[in-house]
Symmetry: D3
Subunit: 259 residues, 6 copies
């Protein structure tokens, strides 16, 4: 079984320490010594993506990074944000390499092991877009509730004790009031909290960053062994080779040789 | 009643002739001499947006143009592509100016005057994303069918006779086989064909570029008269003032003073 | 741009004062000096339509009034009750003149400017029928909640202070507990309260009587400029000319010359 | 077991011969000698209800007849048209007597004995309203198709041979192309054809007039034995006693003493 | 009208006293002296079916009993558990005899006489499977809520006073908080409580054991009079005659001569 | 990384040759030399499960085999039939070992790599139950069509050439008429055909037996690495320890020591 290289993209302005911490966390949970995980972030980018406009600003960088990963021989890529930003477009430009993202991965897993799930988010603001994704992926009937903590992306890791306390309160309500059978921690910056809460409440608590890594491993395996990967005959049919060049905008967008 | 200025954005690499032709068409159909329509396109951009990656490439330019329109005093803006690219994000960054797009506008109109509609598109490729929008906007039960012509965006105006013939064939099938009560021409480059077909088949044929202009006029009026415009307390809550600047990326994205 | 005449039908036993008050309110909000609004009510009719049987009693009068409006050259008609009584049948008998009603109009507007809305109603009794309309129009996923005030149609204007206070309480809950991004005041007799509450809560508060007027103006404009109006080839196909006469019931129903 | 009296309302301008023929047909199929079926029609009314406006014209007469049936001691009433016109309002004004109608009755039965059903109708025109009822009653996932014969209400019994031939053709397609497991004959004027076709195709063919009678017997029995009948605490809460009188319109509508 | 024999299967380890009590209760509510109800239970079986595994253990016995009932000339059979265990398979193996079960029966009835219903259950554990049935039968939009009492199947009849008190509390909440217009008592062991609560709250309270008997009578009548019974041309198409025998497993399963 | 043992249950009367052939096929596609796959079938059982009654006959044996697998230390089990028989109950009785089945596995995979899929089945008879599963798993909007070949389970491998030819015809129609972007071969006995067809049509063709193995590997990995496995706090809460024994039926069902 050959080594599998997976690129985990933090679609924000990162720093070495942050990337390394997440990389370490993910590497603890990869399924085999033959998986290799790299975490990358951007030099110039917003520091969080709570606002959808910030996603739009990094759209091109996310997608170029995905395409470059494929060119560089990665076996799968992850777009590491629970909005799953531009996941569909990443599937469109991939020429075969699987791409996934935290919401897609977490919900597939949760719906397989539970009859319902609640999603712990930061703010109310996030919910409409995330609800839209729940519906789109087919999981409306599995959704027990969204439960916001009332804090932002950058707060989760800043005061871990408070975060854990808030999570505990909302998980309790999700179980008792909403009848959730599983919990999804709906932001990649909620990484690292799942195991303790999972043991405490005796139900699956899904770390969405980790879920996306595991799902990426699965998809890479499906492609390698069975040849099952992104269908290119319909909505994921990608740009025609050379079209951007023929329009004279390949260089403008820094896409030389990519398509 | 004060003059209403509406900006119609062609989110592609345009040319003066093309913009002028569409501008003329739209100006023939504005509701009042007090409406003023400007059509803009981009200097550097793909020539069509059939592939979603091309949308991503122009994401930033579309959104900056929308925000600049608001700063410049426009009363409404239209993102002129039937995928409604980034319409939700445009509503997020607007600080009050209404924004709309062809699919949203056409479907609201069609669902008001018919029990069902068919959408005439170019290629199969477009359908999954457009179907997703139909569902998202709430119109799944109104959708009679998608009917692709088997041609591309750039073909519609290139051979108008062929386009009209193909449209005629598919509209006939939509009525007879799918029981469509209205037709939406599902690409802004299908502009200009609606009236003849509408008379021929005696049912509403909705030109989606025109629909978006009319809907923009309506939304601008609702704001002016009733104060009803984009809700900013939930999913459309926009970037915090100065946040991009504080992260040092305002200049990088060319957004000085915008947020 | 020619003058647009709109008939707003209060489908209840009215009085001159009441009609005049609403007419004045609507005239303040019409989009242009070229719109002319008439408000009519019935001489013999129930005083409110909370019970659906009361709607049935005025069915014929509503529909005759709509058809007569078309004959008299009105550009659009509004059936002024949030149950949207017989709106579909009005579209069936219209030979081209647009007809709309408060629920249809309010929801189209709310779904365009917000991700979700709550509807403030009088009594629980109203909700099943109104919920049915929400679903029928395609807005189930936009509905945050119904919030009843526990008062009747005739109470809204009788004690405005109390009404406003009750509205304030329920709007607060709709925002905080149901995550509503917009509010629809779900009874035409709730007219006149929207602006103050809208400013207070900083979200769109939609006055449904006013919304129906604005939507009627929009539909009249769409018909005039684009020829888009009610499709007559399917469910809105109207009575065959002369059929009622041939059955000898034209005079019995007082419909001479109407169909 | 006491005798059960059921009133079957033909909501059209009837004649003695037509009423008697249907009455004879229904009496052949009542479940017990203790059931007594009366068929009534109107002296002044449209001759068919294909257009929804015609329904509106008879709204008051239908509902008065239902209420009078209750006063006269009937155990249940049927509104004999597959549009189920004003069934909800009949449930509202009933003070306990069950009321049903052909579409409600047929679909409940079909969904119990088959995984899917097709509805054989007269014209395309009927389908949007009937589809709305299918959705409202909860049977969207059971609907295999609508299959129109291309003829009108008055044609079904006029040329029975042709009707049967057309039904045969469409039932065949419903089974083979739409995978229908049961057939509903979607107009009361399709009465009398079901048994032969049922035997021929070896699947349930539901005569909707008959279905409504059988369902009415069932509902009357449920009320008598278990006390289960229309809930009056929500949407079916009826007019307040004396309210119409207090408004001075009781006599105008000919409702003296009814409410 | 011939006598109708109905077999009510208690799919648990029963005892004479328990069967006799239920049989007496059902016999009080049959629609006519011509209905004959037998209650049977199993000698070897779990004492309740709260866990789905227990259903699986009695699967074969339930289905053999159903098939034997048909062979023995019963006119209908009831599988007496609110999970409706194996109802679809019972419809598959029946060669014409109707089969029903409490959830199917209760929901059809409730949806006919109310706009919404709440289901009073024992434990949270039961809800996912029952919710699945609600959706499958088409009644998602009718469901106001599940309201668990926090007790088990064997507790309902053990302490009737407590059961009634808990039911009263939850019915009150269902009406006030969930706007339920009808109540379904969602376990056959909740039999006997309905009438008092129904009178107290003045809304239909449906005893699901009784509902299944009444629905069985209705279905038997539909078959006898109209020939409408389970469609055998699709999903309910049963085992081919002799197939089990040809595989040599007929005796192993104790099915000699049954199929 | 420790060895993973997976039990694949053929829930039919098997034979050594058949089991060995499938075992060989699955072993070619396991993700790692550390996975160990065993295939078992039953000594006494129907030879296929086309009829749901046959599923019921093997219910107990399937579930005992699943529970025994867990006791024996398997890391995951597969119930190898595309009806996913008793998968929910298997999740209920598992005390932690993941269980999956072909439909669940195939649809999760297909929905991740395509916008829509068609399912190639044997007979019309299978479709209602399978459609129910599609809806239950959340994939109604992904389903392009069912395409039956008109042959039975035992025919697929008997005449492989014919099977492949029929598959080819239906896949072509699924792509062209139904716009399927992926194909699921909807019976485990369709194993072995996928790769050739996948290459021929250049879209994912999912072998459902293989998919269930791969999904089982994924689930076993999720459990091992992240502790994510079946939630036991709601619908999958299993039988209380010793309850069956206390009722004296443990031995009767041959479940000594299992629960």
């Amino acid at each position: 079984m050959k080594e599998k290289k997976i690129l985990y993209i933090q679609p924000i302005k990162g720093n070495e320490a942050g990337d390394a911490e997440l990389e370490a966390f993910l590497n603890e949970h990869k399924s085999s010594s033959t998986t290799h995980v790299d975490v990358v972030s951007f030099k110039q980018a917003p520091s969080h993506l709570e606002h959808h406009f910030y996603e739009a600003l990094v759209a091109k960088d996310i997608l170029k990074t995905v395409r470059q990963a494929e060119i560089d021989g990665y076996d799968a890529a992850v777009i590491g944000c629970f909005y799953d930003p531009f996941l569909d477009i990443a599937k469109e430009i991939s020429q075969g390499m699987p791409v996934t993202a935290p919401a897609e991965a977490s919900m597939h897993i949760a719906a397989t092991i539970a009859n319902s799930f609640s999603i712990i988010v930061g703010r109310n603001k996030w919910i409409p877009k995330m609800h839209e994704n729940v519906v789109r992926y087919g999981y409306r009937d599995y959704l027990a509730s969204f439960r916001p903590l009332g804090i932002g992306v950058l707060d989760f890791q800043a005061d871990k004790e408070r975060t854990e306390r808030l999570m505990r309160e909302e998980i309790k309500k999700a179980i008792e009031q909403d009848r959730a059978e599983a919990i999804i921690l709906g932001c990649t910056m909620e990484f690292g909290f799942f195991r303790k809460l999972q043991e405490e409440f005796a139900l699956p608590v899904i770390d969405c960053a980790l879920a996306s890594l595991k799902y990426a491993e699965h998809l890479a395996d499906l492609r390698e062994v069975c040849g099952w990967t992104i269908s290119k005959i319909g909505g994921f049919d990608g740009p025609a080779k050379g079209e951007l060049k023929s329009w004279g905008v390949e260089a403008y967008y820094g896409l030389e040789g990519m398509f």
